[in-house]
Protein backbone atom coordinates (compact mmCIF):
# COMPACT_ATOMS: atom_id res chain seq x y z
CA UNK A 1 0.00 0.00 0.00
CA UNK A 2 1.17 3.53 -0.76
CA UNK A 3 -0.43 6.48 0.97
CA UNK A 4 0.05 10.12 0.02
CA UNK A 5 -1.03 12.82 2.47
CA UNK A 6 -1.57 16.44 1.48
CA UNK A 7 1.05 16.54 -1.28
CA UNK A 8 1.73 19.95 -2.83
CA UNK A 9 4.36 20.89 -5.37
CA UNK A 10 5.18 24.14 -7.15
CA UNK A 11 7.59 25.02 -9.93
CA UNK A 12 8.75 28.65 -10.23
CA UNK A 13 5.73 29.81 -8.26
CA UNK A 14 3.22 27.80 -10.29
CA UNK A 15 1.35 25.33 -8.09
CA UNK A 16 1.24 22.04 -9.98
CA UNK A 17 -0.13 19.83 -7.18
CA UNK A 18 -2.48 21.15 -4.53
CA UNK A 19 -3.00 19.21 -1.34
CA UNK A 20 -3.50 15.73 -2.77
CA UNK A 21 -4.25 12.78 -0.50
CA UNK A 22 -4.94 9.25 -1.62
CA UNK A 23 -4.35 5.62 -0.75
CA UNK A 24 -3.10 3.25 -3.45
CA UNK A 25 -4.11 -0.26 -2.52
CA UNK A 26 -2.07 -3.44 -2.58
CA UNK A 27 -2.89 -6.08 -5.18
CA UNK A 28 -4.93 -3.61 -7.19
CA UNK A 29 -4.30 -1.64 -10.35
CA UNK A 30 -4.53 1.91 -9.06
CA UNK A 31 -4.97 4.54 -11.73
CA UNK A 32 -4.11 8.23 -11.78
CA UNK A 33 -6.09 9.87 -14.54
CA UNK A 34 -6.46 13.40 -15.80
CA UNK A 35 -5.86 15.47 -18.87
CA UNK A 36 -2.36 16.37 -20.11
CA UNK A 37 -0.62 18.84 -17.81
CA UNK A 38 -2.91 18.11 -14.87
CA UNK A 39 0.00 16.99 -12.66
CA UNK A 40 -0.18 13.19 -12.93
CA UNK A 41 3.50 12.66 -13.75
CA UNK A 42 4.61 15.22 -11.15
CA UNK A 43 2.60 13.37 -8.50
CA UNK A 44 4.21 10.09 -9.48
CA UNK A 45 7.69 11.63 -9.45
CA UNK A 46 6.95 13.00 -5.96
CA UNK A 47 5.88 9.53 -4.84
CA UNK A 48 9.00 7.77 -6.17
CA UNK A 49 11.27 10.51 -4.85
CA UNK A 50 12.46 12.03 -8.13
CA UNK A 51 10.88 15.31 -6.96
CA UNK A 52 10.70 16.45 -3.36
CA UNK A 53 7.20 17.65 -2.50
CA UNK A 54 6.88 21.13 -0.96
CA UNK A 55 4.37 19.80 1.56
CA UNK A 56 2.90 16.46 2.48
CA UNK A 57 4.08 12.95 3.07
CA UNK A 58 4.41 9.70 1.19
CA UNK A 59 4.12 6.40 3.06
CA UNK A 60 5.31 3.07 1.69
CA UNK A 61 3.53 0.56 3.95
CA UNK A 62 3.84 2.80 7.00
CA UNK A 63 7.38 3.89 6.13
CA UNK A 64 7.40 7.68 5.95
CA UNK A 65 9.61 8.26 2.90
CA UNK A 66 10.76 11.82 3.68
CA UNK A 67 12.21 10.94 7.10
CA UNK A 68 14.11 7.87 5.93
CA UNK A 69 17.90 7.98 5.83
CA UNK A 70 19.50 7.85 2.34
CA UNK A 71 20.38 4.17 2.87
CA UNK A 72 16.80 3.35 3.88
CA UNK A 73 15.46 5.30 0.91
CA UNK A 74 17.68 3.20 -1.34
CA UNK A 75 16.19 0.06 0.18
CA UNK A 76 12.67 1.33 -0.55
CA UNK A 77 13.69 2.15 -4.10
CA UNK A 78 14.88 -1.42 -4.63
CA UNK A 79 11.29 -2.42 -3.96
CA UNK A 80 10.06 -0.14 -6.73
CA UNK A 81 9.74 -1.09 -10.39
CA UNK A 82 8.97 1.65 -12.85
CA UNK A 83 7.83 1.61 -16.44
CA UNK A 84 8.55 4.96 -18.06
CA UNK A 85 6.55 6.60 -20.82
CA UNK A 86 9.35 6.07 -23.36
CA UNK A 87 10.39 2.74 -21.79
CA UNK A 88 13.77 4.22 -20.71
CA UNK A 89 15.70 1.10 -21.63
CA UNK A 90 19.46 1.58 -21.60
CA UNK A 91 20.50 2.09 -25.23
CA UNK A 92 23.94 0.60 -24.83
CA UNK A 93 22.70 -2.65 -23.30
CA UNK A 94 20.96 -5.58 -24.98
CA UNK A 95 17.50 -6.80 -23.95
CA UNK A 96 19.07 -9.44 -21.73
CA UNK A 97 21.52 -6.96 -20.13
CA UNK A 98 18.72 -4.45 -19.52
CA UNK A 99 16.64 -6.98 -17.60
CA UNK A 100 19.71 -8.31 -15.82
CA UNK A 101 20.86 -4.82 -14.81
CA UNK A 102 19.02 -4.55 -11.44
CA UNK A 103 19.96 -8.15 -10.62
CA UNK A 104 23.66 -7.55 -11.32
CA UNK A 105 23.59 -4.27 -9.41
CA UNK A 106 21.71 -5.30 -6.28
CA UNK A 107 21.94 -9.05 -5.83
CA UNK A 108 24.70 -11.55 -5.34
CA UNK A 109 23.12 -14.04 -7.72
CA UNK A 110 25.45 -16.06 -9.95
CA UNK A 111 25.45 -15.44 -13.71
CA UNK A 112 23.46 -18.62 -14.35
CA UNK A 113 20.83 -17.63 -11.76
CA UNK A 114 20.64 -14.16 -13.29
CA UNK A 115 20.18 -15.62 -16.76
CA UNK A 116 17.47 -17.94 -15.48
CA UNK A 117 15.62 -15.05 -13.84
CA UNK A 118 16.03 -12.86 -16.95
CA UNK A 119 14.59 -15.56 -19.18
CA UNK A 120 11.73 -16.13 -16.76
CA UNK A 121 10.84 -12.41 -16.77
CA UNK A 122 11.13 -12.15 -20.55
CA UNK A 123 8.96 -15.24 -20.99
CA UNK A 124 6.44 -13.74 -18.61
CA UNK A 125 6.05 -10.71 -20.88
CA UNK A 126 6.13 -12.88 -24.02
CA UNK A 127 9.47 -11.72 -25.36
CA UNK A 128 11.14 -14.82 -26.70
CA UNK A 129 14.47 -15.26 -28.50
CA UNK A 130 15.27 -11.54 -28.59
CA UNK A 131 17.82 -11.48 -25.78
CA UNK A 132 20.69 -10.19 -27.88
CA UNK A 133 18.80 -7.35 -29.58
CA UNK A 134 19.31 -3.71 -28.63
CA UNK A 135 16.33 -1.50 -27.67
CA UNK A 136 16.59 0.43 -30.96
CA UNK A 137 15.94 -2.85 -32.81
CA UNK A 138 12.62 -3.43 -31.01
CA UNK A 139 9.12 -2.12 -31.74
CA UNK A 140 7.46 0.26 -29.25
CA UNK A 141 5.29 -2.52 -27.80
CA UNK A 142 8.25 -4.86 -27.38
CA UNK A 143 10.24 -2.10 -25.68
CA UNK A 144 7.38 -1.61 -23.21
CA UNK A 145 7.30 -5.33 -22.47
CA UNK A 146 11.08 -5.47 -21.95
CA UNK A 147 10.75 -2.46 -19.63
CA UNK A 148 8.07 -4.34 -17.66
CA UNK A 149 10.37 -7.38 -17.50
CA UNK A 150 13.15 -5.16 -16.13
CA UNK A 151 10.74 -3.57 -13.65
CA UNK A 152 9.65 -6.94 -12.24
CA UNK A 153 13.05 -8.63 -12.29
CA UNK A 154 13.73 -7.78 -8.61
CA UNK A 155 10.21 -8.86 -7.59
CA UNK A 156 9.13 -5.33 -6.62
CA UNK A 157 6.41 -4.55 -4.11
CA UNK A 158 5.42 -1.38 -5.94
CA UNK A 159 5.05 -0.92 -9.68
CA UNK A 160 4.69 2.47 -11.35
CA UNK A 161 3.66 2.77 -14.98
CA UNK A 162 3.81 6.20 -16.60
CA UNK A 163 1.43 6.20 -19.57
CA UNK A 164 2.21 2.62 -20.60
CA UNK A 165 0.02 2.90 -23.70
CA UNK A 166 1.43 6.05 -25.20
CA UNK A 167 2.54 5.57 -28.79
CA UNK A 168 1.04 2.10 -29.06
CA UNK A 169 -1.73 0.82 -31.33
CA UNK A 170 -5.02 -0.09 -29.58
CA UNK A 171 -4.42 -3.85 -29.76
CA UNK A 172 -0.91 -3.66 -28.29
CA UNK A 173 -2.18 -1.17 -25.71
CA UNK A 174 -4.74 -3.73 -24.48
CA UNK A 175 -2.02 -6.43 -24.35
CA UNK A 176 0.18 -4.15 -22.18
CA UNK A 177 -2.79 -3.22 -19.94
CA UNK A 178 -3.69 -6.85 -19.40
CA UNK A 179 -0.09 -7.76 -18.71
CA UNK A 180 0.16 -5.05 -16.04
CA UNK A 181 -3.04 -6.23 -14.40
CA UNK A 182 -2.00 -9.90 -14.49
CA UNK A 183 1.37 -9.31 -12.87
CA UNK A 184 -0.20 -7.01 -10.28
CA UNK A 185 -2.47 -9.80 -9.10
CA UNK A 186 0.19 -12.50 -9.53
CA UNK A 187 2.84 -10.70 -7.42
CA UNK A 188 0.36 -8.87 -5.16
CA UNK A 189 2.02 -5.56 -5.95
CA UNK A 190 0.76 -2.05 -5.38
CA UNK A 191 0.55 -0.87 -8.97
CA UNK A 192 0.04 2.74 -9.98
CA UNK A 193 -0.73 3.46 -13.61
CA UNK A 194 -0.81 6.99 -14.95
CA UNK A 195 -2.98 7.33 -17.98
CA UNK A 196 -5.38 9.49 -19.90
CA UNK A 197 -6.53 6.60 -22.02
CA UNK A 198 -10.18 5.86 -21.19
CA UNK A 199 -9.90 2.35 -22.63
CA UNK A 200 -7.33 1.57 -19.94
CA UNK A 201 -9.58 3.08 -17.30
CA UNK A 202 -12.43 0.82 -18.33
CA UNK A 203 -10.19 -2.19 -18.85
CA UNK A 204 -7.97 -2.30 -15.76
CA UNK A 205 -8.89 0.56 -13.41
CA UNK A 206 -9.88 -0.60 -9.93
CA UNK A 207 -9.00 2.28 -7.66
CA UNK A 208 -8.92 5.53 -9.57
CA UNK A 209 -7.65 8.98 -8.63
CA UNK A 210 -8.83 11.75 -10.92
CA UNK A 211 -6.64 14.86 -10.95
CA UNK A 212 -7.75 18.07 -12.54
CA UNK A 213 -5.48 21.10 -12.60
CA UNK A 214 -3.35 19.78 -9.77
CA UNK A 215 -6.21 18.98 -7.40
CA UNK A 216 -7.91 15.73 -6.53
CA UNK A 217 -11.22 15.89 -8.30
CA UNK A 218 -12.61 12.50 -7.55
CA UNK A 219 -12.05 8.96 -6.46
CA UNK A 220 -13.61 5.94 -8.08
CA UNK A 221 -13.57 2.43 -6.75
CA UNK A 222 -14.67 0.16 -9.50
CA UNK A 223 -15.98 -3.34 -8.97
CA UNK A 224 -15.21 -5.71 -11.77
CA UNK A 225 -18.05 -7.81 -13.10
Amino acid sequence: MIKVNNISKSFLGVEVLKDISFTFEKGKTNLIIGKSGSGKSVLTKCIVGLFEPDNGEVYYDDRKFSVLKPKEKKEVRKEIGMLFQGSALFDSLTVEENVAFPLRMFTSMSESEILERVNFCLNRVNILNNNSLYPSELSGGMQKRVAIARAISLRPKYLFCDEPNSGLDPVTAIVIDELIQEITVEYQMTTIVITHDMNSVLEIGENILFIDNGTKNGKVIRNKF
Partner: protein
Protein backbone atom coordinates in the same frame (compact mmCIF):
# COMPACT_ATOMS: atom_id res chain seq x y z
CA UNK B 1 27.39 31.14 -12.35
CA UNK B 2 27.73 30.37 -8.60
CA UNK B 3 24.73 28.04 -8.86
CA UNK B 4 26.39 26.16 -11.74
CA UNK B 5 29.65 25.92 -9.82
CA UNK B 6 27.76 24.56 -6.81
CA UNK B 7 26.03 21.93 -8.96
CA UNK B 8 29.37 20.99 -10.50
CA UNK B 9 30.99 20.55 -7.07
CA UNK B 10 28.02 18.53 -5.83
CA UNK B 11 28.28 16.33 -8.91
CA UNK B 12 31.94 15.65 -8.12
CA UNK B 13 31.04 14.91 -4.50
CA UNK B 14 28.52 12.25 -5.56
CA UNK B 15 31.15 10.46 -7.61
CA UNK B 16 32.97 9.46 -4.46
CA UNK B 17 29.99 7.66 -2.89
CA UNK B 18 30.55 3.98 -2.34
CA UNK B 19 29.65 1.97 -5.48
CA UNK B 20 26.58 -0.28 -5.21
CA UNK B 21 28.56 -3.14 -6.70
CA UNK B 22 32.24 -2.94 -7.51
CA UNK B 23 32.16 -5.53 -10.33
CA UNK B 24 29.54 -3.54 -12.28
CA UNK B 25 31.56 -0.35 -11.92
CA UNK B 26 34.75 -2.16 -12.93
CA UNK B 27 33.06 -3.33 -16.16
CA UNK B 28 31.90 0.24 -16.79
CA UNK B 29 35.48 1.46 -16.25
CA UNK B 30 36.83 -0.99 -18.83
CA UNK B 31 34.11 0.01 -21.32
CA UNK B 32 35.00 3.65 -20.84
CA UNK B 33 38.72 2.98 -21.31
CA UNK B 34 37.85 1.54 -24.72
CA UNK B 35 35.29 4.23 -25.53
CA UNK B 36 37.38 7.24 -24.47
CA UNK B 37 40.89 6.01 -25.13
CA UNK B 38 41.18 3.12 -27.54
CA UNK B 39 38.58 4.50 -29.94
CA UNK B 40 40.46 7.81 -30.06
CA UNK B 41 43.74 6.25 -31.18
CA UNK B 42 43.09 6.59 -34.90
CA UNK B 43 42.53 10.35 -34.81
CA UNK B 44 45.42 10.77 -32.35
CA UNK B 45 47.79 8.82 -34.64
CA UNK B 46 46.75 10.88 -37.64
CA UNK B 47 47.01 14.22 -35.85
CA UNK B 48 50.34 13.44 -34.18
CA UNK B 49 52.05 12.09 -37.28
CA UNK B 50 51.02 15.10 -39.36
CA UNK B 51 51.95 17.55 -36.59
CA UNK B 52 55.41 15.98 -36.38
CA UNK B 53 55.80 16.04 -40.15
CA UNK B 54 54.74 19.68 -40.51
CA UNK B 55 56.92 20.75 -37.58
CA UNK B 56 59.99 19.22 -39.24
CA UNK B 57 59.32 21.06 -42.50
CA UNK B 58 58.54 24.39 -40.82
CA UNK B 59 61.54 24.24 -38.48
CA UNK B 60 63.93 23.15 -41.19
CA UNK B 61 62.76 25.97 -43.44
CA UNK B 62 62.88 28.58 -40.68
CA UNK B 63 66.38 27.85 -39.47
CA UNK B 64 68.09 27.21 -42.75
CA UNK B 65 71.55 28.54 -41.92
CA UNK B 66 75.09 27.27 -42.13
CA UNK B 67 75.63 28.33 -38.52
CA UNK B 68 72.86 26.17 -37.11
CA UNK B 69 73.42 22.42 -37.11
CA UNK B 70 70.76 20.19 -38.74
CA UNK B 71 70.06 18.30 -35.56
CA UNK B 72 68.47 21.49 -34.17
CA UNK B 73 65.40 20.56 -36.22
CA UNK B 74 65.03 17.27 -34.33
CA UNK B 75 65.64 19.00 -31.01
CA UNK B 76 63.03 21.68 -31.72
CA UNK B 77 60.48 19.09 -32.82
CA UNK B 78 61.09 17.10 -29.65
CA UNK B 79 60.68 20.12 -27.39
CA UNK B 80 57.54 21.32 -29.17
CA UNK B 81 55.91 17.90 -29.24
CA UNK B 82 56.74 17.00 -25.64
CA UNK B 83 55.93 20.33 -24.05
CA UNK B 84 52.97 21.61 -25.98
CA UNK B 85 51.70 19.87 -29.06
CA UNK B 86 51.05 16.40 -27.66
CA UNK B 87 49.58 17.26 -24.24
CA UNK B 88 47.70 20.42 -25.18
CA UNK B 89 46.72 20.17 -28.85
CA UNK B 90 45.82 16.49 -28.63
CA UNK B 91 43.82 17.23 -25.45
CA UNK B 92 41.95 19.94 -27.33
CA UNK B 93 41.22 17.42 -30.08
CA UNK B 94 40.03 14.94 -27.43
CA UNK B 95 37.87 17.66 -25.89
CA UNK B 96 36.11 17.86 -29.25
CA UNK B 97 35.78 14.14 -29.79
CA UNK B 98 35.34 12.76 -26.28
CA UNK B 99 33.68 15.83 -24.75
CA UNK B 100 30.88 16.02 -27.30
CA UNK B 101 30.43 12.27 -27.09
CA UNK B 102 30.04 12.35 -23.29
CA UNK B 103 27.68 15.35 -23.28
CA UNK B 104 25.43 13.95 -25.99
CA UNK B 105 25.38 10.46 -24.44
CA UNK B 106 24.41 11.71 -20.99
CA UNK B 107 22.07 14.35 -22.44
CA UNK B 108 20.21 11.74 -24.45
CA UNK B 109 19.99 9.53 -21.38
CA UNK B 110 18.49 12.46 -19.47
CA UNK B 111 15.96 13.27 -22.22
CA UNK B 112 14.87 9.64 -22.61
CA UNK B 113 14.48 9.22 -18.80
CA UNK B 114 17.24 6.60 -18.57
CA UNK B 115 18.87 8.60 -15.75
CA UNK B 116 15.51 8.78 -13.94
CA UNK B 117 15.24 5.01 -14.35
CA UNK B 118 18.60 4.57 -12.61
CA UNK B 119 17.58 6.92 -9.79
CA UNK B 120 14.26 5.13 -9.23
CA UNK B 121 16.11 1.81 -9.02
CA UNK B 122 18.23 3.28 -6.24
CA UNK B 123 21.44 3.55 -8.28
CA UNK B 124 23.73 6.53 -7.67
CA UNK B 125 23.41 7.68 -11.28
CA UNK B 126 26.29 10.18 -11.05
CA UNK B 127 28.62 7.59 -9.57
CA UNK B 128 27.57 4.96 -12.08
CA UNK B 129 27.59 7.10 -15.22
CA UNK B 130 30.19 9.79 -14.60
CA UNK B 131 32.63 8.22 -12.10
CA UNK B 132 33.95 5.52 -14.46
CA UNK B 133 34.32 8.09 -17.26
CA UNK B 134 36.51 10.38 -15.17
CA UNK B 135 38.63 7.58 -13.73
CA UNK B 136 39.02 5.92 -17.15
CA UNK B 137 40.14 9.23 -18.68
CA UNK B 138 42.64 9.87 -15.88
CA UNK B 139 44.07 6.42 -16.55
CA UNK B 140 44.03 6.24 -20.36
CA UNK B 141 44.73 9.82 -21.50
CA UNK B 142 48.38 9.84 -20.32
CA UNK B 143 48.89 6.60 -22.25
CA UNK B 144 47.25 8.13 -25.32
CA UNK B 145 49.51 11.17 -25.04
CA UNK B 146 52.66 9.06 -24.81
CA UNK B 147 51.44 7.15 -27.85
CA UNK B 148 50.90 10.52 -29.54
CA UNK B 149 54.50 11.58 -28.73
CA UNK B 150 55.82 8.45 -30.40
CA UNK B 151 53.77 9.00 -33.55
CA UNK B 152 54.69 12.68 -33.61
CA UNK B 153 58.40 11.79 -33.72
CA UNK B 154 57.66 9.01 -36.19
CA UNK B 155 55.82 11.41 -38.54
CA UNK B 156 58.77 13.81 -38.41
CA UNK B 157 61.15 10.93 -39.14
CA UNK B 158 59.11 9.88 -42.17
CA UNK B 159 59.35 13.37 -43.64
CA UNK B 160 63.12 13.36 -43.15
CA UNK B 161 63.36 9.94 -44.79
CA UNK B 162 61.25 10.76 -47.86
CA UNK B 163 62.19 14.43 -48.47
CA UNK B 164 65.74 14.43 -47.12
CA UNK B 165 65.08 17.91 -45.79
CA UNK B 166 67.58 16.81 -43.14
CA UNK B 167 68.98 13.32 -42.72
CA UNK B 168 67.19 10.87 -40.45
CA UNK B 169 70.43 10.45 -38.54
CA UNK B 170 70.57 14.19 -37.76
CA UNK B 171 66.87 14.17 -36.85
CA UNK B 172 67.36 11.32 -34.38
CA UNK B 173 70.47 12.98 -33.00
CA UNK B 174 68.39 16.12 -32.38
CA UNK B 175 65.75 14.11 -30.54
CA UNK B 176 68.43 12.57 -28.32
CA UNK B 177 70.28 15.86 -27.70
CA UNK B 178 70.06 17.46 -24.26
CA UNK B 179 68.01 14.50 -23.09
CA UNK B 180 68.84 15.13 -19.43
CA UNK B 181 65.64 17.12 -18.98
CA UNK B 182 63.43 14.70 -20.90
CA UNK B 183 62.15 13.02 -17.76
CA UNK B 184 61.07 16.38 -16.32
CA UNK B 185 59.44 17.38 -19.59
CA UNK B 186 57.50 14.13 -19.84
CA UNK B 187 56.43 14.47 -16.21
CA UNK B 188 55.24 18.00 -16.97
CA UNK B 189 53.36 16.82 -20.08
CA UNK B 190 51.66 13.97 -18.25
CA UNK B 191 50.73 16.18 -15.29
CA UNK B 192 49.05 18.55 -17.72
CA UNK B 193 47.32 15.64 -19.45
CA UNK B 194 45.86 14.34 -16.19
CA UNK B 195 44.45 17.78 -15.38
CA UNK B 196 43.07 18.12 -18.92
CA UNK B 197 41.51 14.64 -18.74
CA UNK B 198 39.68 15.67 -15.58
CA UNK B 199 38.55 18.96 -17.14
CA UNK B 200 37.25 17.32 -20.33
CA UNK B 201 35.31 14.50 -18.68
CA UNK B 202 33.90 16.40 -15.70
CA UNK B 203 32.80 19.51 -17.63
CA UNK B 204 31.28 17.48 -20.47
CA UNK B 205 29.51 15.22 -17.99
CA UNK B 206 28.13 18.26 -16.17
CA UNK B 207 26.60 19.68 -19.35
CA UNK B 208 25.11 16.32 -20.34
CA UNK B 209 23.89 15.20 -16.94
CA UNK B 210 22.08 18.40 -15.98
CA UNK B 211 20.52 18.95 -19.37
CA UNK B 212 16.91 20.09 -19.49
CA UNK B 213 14.81 19.93 -22.62
CA UNK B 214 14.94 17.87 -25.79
CA UNK B 215 17.01 17.10 -28.87
CA UNK B 216 17.87 20.75 -29.49
CA UNK B 217 19.33 21.06 -25.98
CA UNK B 218 21.39 17.90 -26.49
CA UNK B 219 23.10 19.64 -29.41
CA UNK B 220 23.64 22.79 -27.34
CA UNK B 221 25.02 20.78 -24.41
CA UNK B 222 27.43 19.06 -26.75
CA UNK B 223 28.67 22.39 -28.12
CA UNK B 224 28.95 23.92 -24.64
CA UNK B 225 30.91 20.90 -23.43
CA UNK B 226 33.51 21.34 -26.15
CA UNK B 227 33.71 25.14 -25.81
CA UNK B 228 33.99 25.21 -21.99
CA UNK B 229 36.39 22.25 -21.87
CA UNK B 230 38.64 23.94 -24.43
CA UNK B 231 38.61 27.29 -22.62
CA UNK B 232 39.41 25.67 -19.26
CA UNK B 233 42.17 23.59 -20.87
CA UNK B 234 43.80 26.78 -22.15
CA UNK B 235 43.57 28.44 -18.72
CA UNK B 236 44.89 25.36 -16.95
CA UNK B 237 47.68 25.05 -19.51
CA UNK B 238 48.89 28.55 -18.74
CA UNK B 239 48.66 28.13 -14.96
CA UNK B 240 50.37 24.72 -14.94
CA UNK B 241 53.15 25.93 -17.24
CA UNK B 242 53.85 28.86 -14.95
CA UNK B 243 53.73 26.64 -11.86
CA UNK B 244 55.83 23.77 -13.15
CA UNK B 245 58.29 25.15 -15.68
CA UNK B 246 59.31 28.45 -14.15
Amino acid sequence: MIRSLGKYVLMLYHIFFRPEKFSVYWRRFLDEVIQLGVKSLFIVTLMSAFMGAVLVIQTATAIESAWIPDYTVGFTVKQSMLLEFCPTIISLILAGKVGSNIASELGTMRVTEQIDALEVMGVNSIGYLIGPKIIAALFIFPIVIMYSMFFGFFGGGLVCYFTEIISVKQYLLGIRTFSGDNYEFIKYALTKTIVFAFIITSISSYFGYYLKGGALEVGKASTNAVVYSSVFILFANYILTQLILI
